[in-house]
Symmetry: C2
Subunit: 210 residues, 2 copies
């Protein structure tokens, strides 16, 4: 076999692999949309297929089984999930900036992506019953904790005061706050996001000494 042929085959093979991966990503996106709408308990493969432009059989062409698909979904979900506040951290010039912008961003994503957040908490809970996703979920939660830590650390830096709570605790507290706001928001309470935007700066301020 000539070198040219090998290169060609590599290129084709790579293109096929990429196409394969692209389709997987596309189907996983349909699955995520379905999951966000119906929740883990009520999502079936046929429903996912109906939210895509393919028939249900194709899912087993691209994924070994349902767990494989859902695991891929969880991993794909991560990418959207853990870089949300990076830009705000980078832009902030004062502690007051960060306080205000971070709170506003939390309230904004609560309003805009409520169904996706609802799905995240659903999947995190499923991982407590089924160990298939557990590793991936814990990894995402770790990165979310890191993401919050970046915010808090930068905040402490801007405020010229050391952080007074461990990063795991800071994440747990802010996540609790967000989850409660999500609960209220999805229950129809109009002021839920506004309440969150109000509460976050107060809590953030107590994360540093002084």
């Amino acid at each position: 076999m000539t070198e040219a042929k090998e290169r060609t085959r590599d290129r084709i093979s790579r293109r096929q692999v990429d196409k394969f991966a692209d389709r997987r990503a596309q189907l996983a996106a349909s699955a995520l949309q379905t999951l966000a709408e119906l929740g883990y308990a009520r999502t079936s493969l046929r429903e996912i297929a109906q939210n895509s432009e393919f028939s249900h059989g194709v899912l087993h062409y691209y994924f070994a089984d349902k767990v494989d698909l859902l695991t891929h979904c969880v991993r794909q979900f991560e990418e959207v999930c853990v870089t949300r506040y990076d830009e705000i951290v980078a832009r902030a010039r004062t502690a007051a900036d960060l306080e205000r912008d971070f709170a506003a961003a939390m309230a904004a994503t609560l309003r805009a992506d409520a169904k996706m957040h609802r799905l995240w908490y659903d999947l995190r809970n499923q991982s407590l019953f089924e160990d298939s996703f557990r590793a991936d979920v814990l990894e995402i939660d770790r990165r979310r904790e890191e993401m919050i830590h970046h915010v808090v650390a930068r905040y402490a830096e801007l405020a010229s005061a050391p952080a007074a709570v461990p990063q795991a605790v800071a994440y747990a507290l802010l996540d609790g706050l967000f989850q409660q706001a999500l609960l209220r928001h999805l229950a129809g309470e109009e002021e839920a996001a506004a309440g969150l935007e109000l509460a976050v700066p107060a809590v953030l301020a107590r994360f540093v000494v002084g």
Copy 2:
């Protein structure tokens, strides 16, 4: 019909009603046990019946349908759920007492009732997708918030300092802390409960000014 007869019939009728309610409660207990073990998504009526001493048909004799059963379960769950720290609040003589005992009680129930707590978070999340339980779940959450408020209010009183955070925020923060500890505990992390017991007093102290 004589008065004696009427009284007799009332007594019998009441006994039957009570027996009916008792059996409902018994079946709901079996259902709760099954739910705690398998989670909402994987719990079927036949599985519930197998965790009781009856066959699956009896469930439709005592409950109109699955939603009726699950709703009853949620309500029954409430009673166990919302009086957990009352005694500790009543006993505490100093703020330091309350801090220590409350944190110890949280860690203890995390260790002892992890599966039930996991179920609670599962059901609360389901209520975000299905509105059948929503009202009951929100009611329980409201009572849990009240329960936490009792602790915080008494703590502020003992510390002779006014509470510095709204009760909804205090609940959200402590709930987030607990949920994160539950996550770690069920993932096999041995120090999760101990970490919670350590973090709670620090957080509680920041709920009051000074």
